[in-house]
Assembly symmetry: C2
Homo-oligomer: 494 residues x 2
């Protein structure tokens, strides 16, 4: 157990540590509905910050928000052959539209007369319903590009769920764009991949490797799936977000054609891309410690908590305390959220532990000697380092410290990640590294799905991606010895 | 037909005018799924502005956002007796969690082996799932008040749907609060009612009458339902939003008790409150005209459109045009959204009509003589008045004009509403007013549900509310002649 918090330590059981931390820090919990979570206010405040930043970037790059139906007619899923294989299986199916009083008493039952002619699927993703809509929106090259995003809830009936990482209902944004040319669609796919990677690195403070998926791991219905892959503290990889080049697959399935400038008729090119509440899970797993959350300042709902040390020596000096707090707040400006916890009913030690658990980046304590000396005690959550700040210029010092914490959290994650990318050249080492050190393994692969599946069976590792920035290098497949032109990135993954 | 836009006029067929306008102005359309709408980017941009303002007000008054599951176990609905009567009937029922390939070929079918033990209802409203959660969150008076809101989609299986006004899936916010005392809960209910009314009047520019509902019209499960009622241009009323005092009904149904300061155990007091995409329908119906939308500046996605008159005389002066536009933009600041439509492929007359249809509050046209004289032609959408503005001080003039338009749109709606509140004292007049003049009718009512139902049958009018600010006045029920202590507000309603 971690000291005092009642949380299992990472060393003891990483998975258990995660589950307990998410709940105890007030981020989310399981609901009465199997596999569906409740996102609690503190967790939702972080998600809102993520949404706000991403939404701003989508708009800055020309995208508009819209809303498409929650339900998809069953037959729509079947229109794209690969898509139905990937998504029609585990999903919530609406079959009836009415309940009735149970004639035998005791509650309500499904009204057998209210059966839908065609069942509706609660959307697992919206390509089909959106492309059936785009058919009416796109006639001419003048209607293109069409750059649309929606923030939505989706449902995939997962058998084994974990808060944020894999839930039946989850929240995400899904972009769906339509283009006149293949090149434009590919460019859009990569533009969004870059936006995702920038957000993950600069806000969530998690370094990611950009690459594309092997055929096995591609989105069902895509010609190419690009991904951002990150490493968690237990050495397992997590897919943070994906951007898909859909070719003309959905345009063909839903007969979406446009008149070209020259008067011809062409199928439209498509992309789709999404990031979800799964990023909340990554945020927790990448940075937090046995004492609780460690939040990067750019996503923290509370940046600074100020705790006055209330005791016999200070109880008559609360006005001075309040004045110090006012000075700090006024120097920080509106962008920084400060919580002043002067609740006399709780001990300072209890408060310290509580805000550590919540991952508040900076804690300021004010004691009697601090008042005398015109200083405050500042503790940073990431390194637990304590220091004394003069009240002069306190705003600037705190701003700088927040920047420093943001940077340090990223650098720490990057150091860990970089030291956990291992090149291996034979299958013994491959398995050995995965079983002992963990992390990413860079290895040669012969490019076949069959080999990939075999490797997965033998090692539980999958190809996370074929990195975009990988150097070409002649080699031999780590399993079959067949020739390979570049290393790809393997890992055990969430 | 309205000139050139292809929209039915209000006089011809108000209902048809509305349907066509919503679609042609690009706000929303019907989807492939019966009763579910697609909110298009232009419509969604307005909804986002509504959300942003309301969300800010909820937070300013101490509320936090969270997310609760989309699904509700069937048995939950039955736990509150009145609630199940009101909500368990027309709803989307999930009975299965898997599809399978049809063994007879041709697509997918529901897997009969994947039947849920208990059916799930797609939430029509979330009191039951939220109160089942609050049971774990509330133990002591220290946990109260609990002030939570969620922005969500909900589903009510409506047989007759209309875009925004009544759709199977719609978008809303639902606040759910828990309090230690009855008075606190009542105060919360009324605080939110005021927030709603302020938003409707100051942003949507629609005057509302605040009041409470008769027992017949109350939310299923509430002790009291407060409402904001507005009048549309066809003389029909529209319920804009409601705030419910739920008493201890849900606390009792879900056994939510708290320990008082004194050590006793009490059931918690509750409120819930919501406004939805229905407000989008009200916005359209209250202000728009036969030429298209009329948007209040505070909710308009584009505040000002600038259209250069492109012809032989100006085609060589486009640089001057651009400079004028830059000057205007820089003087307006970031809060004002300006669209510069210099597309040479479209005639100015076509553009004028398009932005009229879209309800852009101010149109600026720049012709060759305007360039010579250092002026622009300014046309306001609400009154269609045209004027010439000097480029000197153009920012301030436009800001003032936007304020004036906002105010004028509200005043126009208020004048109409005020002139359509008619006091009547017998049932002949009651019916006569409703059938000819329309609008609200203030009449005495004996306070019984039976009379209310009879009046509805005879006149199609319902009690919209018992106004909060009504004067006490002795009188006789307009139908039964029984004694009454105050007039109540009747109308035919959406």
């Amino acid at each position: 157990m971690a000291k005092g918090k009642g949380i299992t330590s990472r060393a003891e059981d990483y998975s258990q540590w995660y589950n307990e931390l998410v709940i105890k820090a007030g981020l989310a919990e399981h609901s009465a509905v199997r596999g569906c979570m409740v996102i609690k206010p503190y967790g939702f405040a972080i998600w809102e910050k993520m949404k706000s930043v991403l939404d701003g970037r989508f708009k800055a790059t020309g995208h508009q928000n819209a809303a498409f139906p929650l339900f998809i007619p069953k037959s729509f899923l079947s229109k794209e052959a690969a898509h139905v294989e990937g998504f029609a299986k585990e999903c919530a199916v609406v079959t009836h539209y009415r309940l009735m009083n149970d004639p035998n008493g005791g509650g309500v039952i499904v009204d057998p007369d209210a059966k839908l002619e065609e069942e509706l699927i609660v959307r697992p993703t919206s390509e089909t319903i959106i492309w059936s809509t785009y058919k009416n929106w796109i006639q001419s090259y003048r209607d293109l590009p069409l750059l649309i995003n929606q923030w939505a809830n989706v449902v995939r009936w997962e058998m084994r769920t974990r808060l944020f990482l894999r839930t039946a209902e989850f929240f995400w944004q899904e972009g769906h764009t339509a283009h006149a040319t293949k090149q434009e669609a590919v460019d859009e796919t990569l533009l969004i991949l870059d936006e995702y990677a920038n957000f993950m690195e600069n806000y969530i403070a998690i370094p990611v490797i950009k690459g594309f998926k092997s055929e096995n791991e591609r989105f069902a219905g895509a010609d190419d799936t690009y991904t951002c892959e990150a490493l968690m503290q237990d050495g397992k990889a997590l897919q943070m977000g994906t951007s898909h080049f859909l070719g003309q697959n959905f345009a063909k399935a839903f007969e979406v054609q446009y008149q070209t400038k020259e008067g011809g008729l062409e199928h439209v090119w498509a992309t789709s891309w999404g990031v979800s509440t799964r990023m909340m899970g990554a945020l927790v797993m990448a940075h937090s410690d046995d004492e609780g959350l460690v939040l990067p300042p750019k996503l923290a709902p509370i940046h600074i908590v100020i705790i006055p040390i209330i005791n016999k020596k200070t109880i008559d000096r609360m006005d001075e305390m309040d004045a110090v707090v006012e000075k700090i707040k006024s120097e920080l400006g509106d962008d920084i959220t400060v919580k002043y916890d002067n609740d006399e009913g709780k001990r300072s030690g209890f408060k310290f532990a509580e805000y550590e658990l919540k991952g508040v980046p900076i804690r300021i304590a004010i004691g009697p000697r601090d008042l005398d000396n015109g200083v405050v005690e500042v503790a940073r959550r990431d390194t637990k380092q304590k220091m004394s700040f003069s009240l002069e210029n306190i705003g600037e010092q705190l701003h700088n410290l927040l920047d420093d914490i943001q940077e340090n959290i990223f650098n720490k994650a990057k150091d860990y990640r970089d030291s956990h990318i291992t090149k291996v050249d034979n299958f013994e080492d491959f398995k050995e590294v995965l079983e002992t050190k963990g992390g990413f393994v860079l290895a040669h692969w012969d490019g076949t799905s069959e080999t990939e599946k075999q490797i997965k069976e033998l090692s539980k590792a999958t190809i996370r991606c074929i990195p975009l920035d990988a150097e070409l290098e002649e080699g031999r497949c780590v399993l079959t010895g067949n020739p390979s032109k570049q290393r790809v990135l393997f890992a055990k993954a969430y």
